[in-house]
């Protein structure tokens, strides 16, 4: 088990280097000069331009730039933004906010998704099942930004139940509405995945055996059906955590959440390579770790899976 984990964590290193190299190159290759964005089209003296290009290594060839970046990375220096702030400080502010948002979204989608999915699966063809199927289809079909704007307008502006935007503190309470919007599409998938899986397992031999043994219906559902039905769901949720964090740009924009989505968007627009690479780097780590956790959960859920 331990050696399996270590092996997986060691895989992080090449994945991380490969991803940062690729992203660094992509930002490098985007057309235009970041200094032109800084000057905003107003004149700039040659001396100022030269000094800024030197300060951000923009005057050096790609491999030198990337080499310098890696060299600093070893000492945990993530570089500075064009506004002169440490990228590590930017990340330190934005990541906890987005992490809270993503975790809340993940909780909403897994709790409600699994509960609704099990009920729908157990009552296949009844009114609850049909309603859930139609509702989830609608949610999947409607783009997130439409959902976001509508909920914000109805709940925030018309009913005035919550503030339309999130404050700088970005508390759990304030993040509930954005997290709901962020997690709603995934929730629909989780419901459908759970439902299908439950329906499949309902007629499996081990369930019939459990029922024949005289176990209570509750125990049959939770321990025998649900546990076995969770494997595809957990796979989906694990991969989804990363997507939720990286894909929160739209939701963060609608609710003005000061998270990584905003940071990343701004940095790409400005051509601020160190910030883009750092954000993507952390997202890569989140993805890899989430996948590792999913693999560990397999062993818990299915007794047949063991990691030597």
């Amino acid at each position: 088990m331990l050696s399996f984990m270590l092996k997986r964590i060691a895989q992080l290193i090449p994945v991380f280097i490969g991803a940062t190299l690729l992203v660094y190159f992509l930002v490098f290759a985007t057309p235009g000069n970041p200094i032109d964005a800084l000057s905003g089209g107003k004149p700039m003296s040659d001396a100022t331009r030269a000094a800024l290009e030197a300060q951000y290594n923009l005057d050096k060839p790609f491999w030198v730039q990337y080499g310098l970046y890696l060299k600093n990375l070893v000492t945990f220096d993530l570089g500075t933004s064009f506004s002169g702030q440490e990228v590590s400080a930017l990340l330190g502010r934005a990541f906890p906010v987005t992490a809270r948002l993503a975790i809340l979204a993940l909780l909403i989608e897994s709790v409600f998704g699994i509960i609704f999915g099990v009920i729908a699966g157990m009552r296949k063809g009844k009114w609850f099942d049909s309603t859930i199927l139609v509702a989830s289809l609608i949610v999947i079909a409607v783009p997130t930004f439409v959902l976001g704007f509508v909920l914000q307008f109805v709940v925030g502006v018309k009913l005035d139940l919550v503030k339309p935007t999130v404050s700088g503190a970005a508390t759990w309470g304030e993040l509930f509405l954005p997290a709901l919007v962020l997690g709603l599409v995934s929730l629909a998938y989780v419901v459908r995945l759970t439902r299908t899986s439950v329906i499949e397992n309902k007629s499996a031999d081990f369930v019939r055996t459990a029922t024949a043994k005289g176990l209570s219906r509750r125990r049959v559902i939770t321990v025998h059906i649900l546990r076995n039905s969770l494997i595809p769901v957990v796979t989906f949720l694990g991969a989804d955590l990363g997507s939720l964090m990286g894909g929160a740009i739209v939701t963060e924009g609608i609710f003005n959440v000061p998270g990584v989505g905003h940071l990343l968007y701004q940095a790409i627009q400005k051509g601020e390579t160190p910030t883009v690479v750092a954000v993507v780097g952390v997202l890569v780590i989140v993805f890899v770790v989430a996948n590792l956790v999913v693999d560990m959960l397999y062993a818990l859920l299915d007794p047949r899976i063991r990691y030597a």
Binding site: G32, G41, K42, A89, Q152, G156
Partner: protein, 543 residues
């Protein structure tokens, strides 16, 4: 300030609002006649792009904060007229040598005195190459700028600046410039306390100024809180209890906050709400012109558009082929006004009927005629494309450029195309290296309220923002003549004469003047927008 990324608006705006606790502060809802002077106003902004140093702030997010945080020799009133702030007097007999006296007994909010040296040192700091300040070119008129601004220069004192005594200093320019005193209200010319030079980076995070407000908190990407500066004693005294600038990522979210009274003042309405915001907000909305314009630049290095007879005919034809009012009505819901010159209507000396300005009037038949005349000189191949470039990351650019292109197609019968660029920086990189294959959208927002600010930097030979490489000896001479005038009104008259040359040459095609579309909540009153489209924050009161 700078070109707007979004053609629509003024500026990227952003936002504000604040948390409950912040707004609270006591009595926000007392309904008195004069308004509540202790109410803390929330307003939208974008995150300042740099540390808050005067010579390094060149965009609106930082600029609006700097205007409240600092006060210079002059400030501008709502109409853009200069008002003496710290200046006791600014005198010059020849528009080249200025003697500036400042009021005595003025201090920064930390108690350190504002002296003549506070200005001289700050300007020298801003100009010196080693400090790499974005606004350094603002000091280029001062004698000695070329030495301190040369690449790798170690010098940081311009010979044109001399401290005479604590309250007097002299400025010598390298040539006469009559609108120099007008510039002195721009952010780059603010004074700095000595503490700023020891560690400029730290100072930029926690600036200490001498304006009507002081910055008490700056939570990056979230908000900037400004409190009253009790030591300020000038014409812009605060009528409220402070300003809380909230950083917004999009104007859409700011607009939602405005509608639910979580934001008091918004200076940019999102494009999707332009058709309905005046109905939504009623009396609490505004649509007024400010000192900015939108243009299409046709570079003189393009074939068929050189500075010769043919080029002039083609440029006039294109200008006459565009029905500006129709585009304003369809794309901007009527929220802008058509351009009548190369400057902007809120400026002193502006005129809407300069000789030659009829080239800006839509006339499809005449446009065709002019184009045909140009064809006689040198034929425009029927397959040849005329492109108009724009950046897709600015809201509204695509819509108006495509409208222009369609009109050129219909009215001139040529193959006109819209050429998209993925980002502002991509477009600007091609523009600044003179590598464009067609025309492109441009625009200018005034740094300070002066006709010259719209003419010199854009059309002077080899000027910093002369994107089309326009060059006219006659025009340059007129500019110098205007700058040498000792009376500002006389100067404005000559600058307008220089525009008559531009109407013949048409280095750019003026389209329309910019207008600010804004709104405010029911919690505040006395909201007015200034000559530059920025709300006059210090006059806002609570209800």
């Amino acid at each position: 300030m700078r070109y707007s990324h979004a053609s629509k608006a003024v500026v990227l705006s952003a936002a504000l609002a604040l948390t409950l606790s912040a707004c609270g502060g006591g009595s926000s809802d007392t309904a008195s006649g004069d308004g509540d002077g202790s109410y803390v106003v929330t307003a939208n902004t974008t995150e300042p792009q740099n540390g808050l140093l005067p010579a390094n702030t060149n965009e609106v997010g930082g600029g609006r904060v700097m205007d409240l945080l600092f006060t210079g020799l002059v400030s501008y009133d709502a109409k853009g007229a200069p008002v003496n702030e710290l200046a006791e007097s600014i005198e010059s007999k020849d528009s080249q040598n200025y003697t500036i006296k400042i009021k005595s007994g003025q201090t920064f909010s930390d108690g350190s005195p504002v002296t003549a040296a506070s200005f001289v040192d700050a300007w020298n700091f801003g100009a010196a190459a080693k400090n790499a300040q974005l606004n350094s070119y603002f000091f280029e008129s001062i004698k000695g700028y070329d030495k301190v601004s040369a690449e790798k220069s170690k010098e940081d004192k311009m010979e044109g600046l001399k401290v005479v005594d604590d309250t007097t200093f002299t400025v010598k320019l390298s040539q006469p410039e009559s609108d120099f005193p007008l510039r002195l209200g721009y952010t780059a010319f603010m004074p700095l306390p000595e503490a700023a030079f020891k560690d400029p980076k730290a100072f930029g995070e926690k600036p200490v100024g001498n304006g009507p407000y002081k910055l008490t908190e700056w939570n990056h990407d979230v908000n900037l809180k400004m409190d009253i500066n009790e030591k300020y004693d000038g014409p812009r005294k605060a009528a409220n209890g402070g300003i809380d600038f909230k950083v917004y990522q999009s104007t859409d979210s700011a607009y939602s906050d405005l509608q639910s009274n979580n934001l008091d003042v918004l200076d940019q309405i999102p494009p999707g709400q332009l058709a309905s915001y005046q109905d939504d907000l009623g009396e609490n909305s505004v649509n007024s012109p400010y000192a900015g314009n939108a243009t299409i630049t046709i570079p003189s290095y393009l074939d068929h558009f050189k500075e010769d007879e043919e080029g002039k005919l083609r440029r006039a034809a294109i200008s006459k082929a565009i029905d500006r009012q129709l585009i304003i009505d369809k794309v901007y819901q009527g929220g802008k006004s058509i351009a009548k010159d190369f400057t902007a209507p809120v400026l002193e000396g502006y005129s809407d009927d300069l000789p030659g300005s009829d080239v800006l009037e839509f006339n499809g038949d005449e446009a065709k005629k002019l184009w045909a005349e140009a064809d006689k000189i040198s034929k425009w191949d029927a397959d040849k494309e005329f492109s108009v470039g724009y950046n897709v990351d600015g809201a509204g650019n695509k819509e108006f450029v495509e409208a222009v292109v369609n009109q050129l197609k219909n009215n001139l019968g040529i193959k006109a195309t819209a050429q998209s660029f993925s980002s502002f920086k991509e477009l600007r990189a091609k523009v600044t290296t003179y590598d464009m294959s067609g025309s492109f959208r441009t625009g200018w927002q005034a740094d300070y309220p002066s006709l010259y600010n719209f003419l010199g930097p854009l059309f002077g030979t080899d000027a910093g923002s002369n994107d089309g490489k326009y060059s006219s000896k006659e025009f340059d001479e007129k500019l110098s003549e205007g700058l040498a005038a000792t009376d500002p009104a006389e100067g404005a008259k000559i600058f307008n004469e220089s525009q008559e040359i531009l109407f013949k040459d048409m280095p750019v095609i003026p389209l329309w003047y910019q207008a600010v579309q804004g709104g405010w909540s029911t919690n505040v009153s006395n909201v007015e927008f200034g000559w530059n489209g920025v709300p006059i924050y210090n006059e806002i009161t609570g209800k």
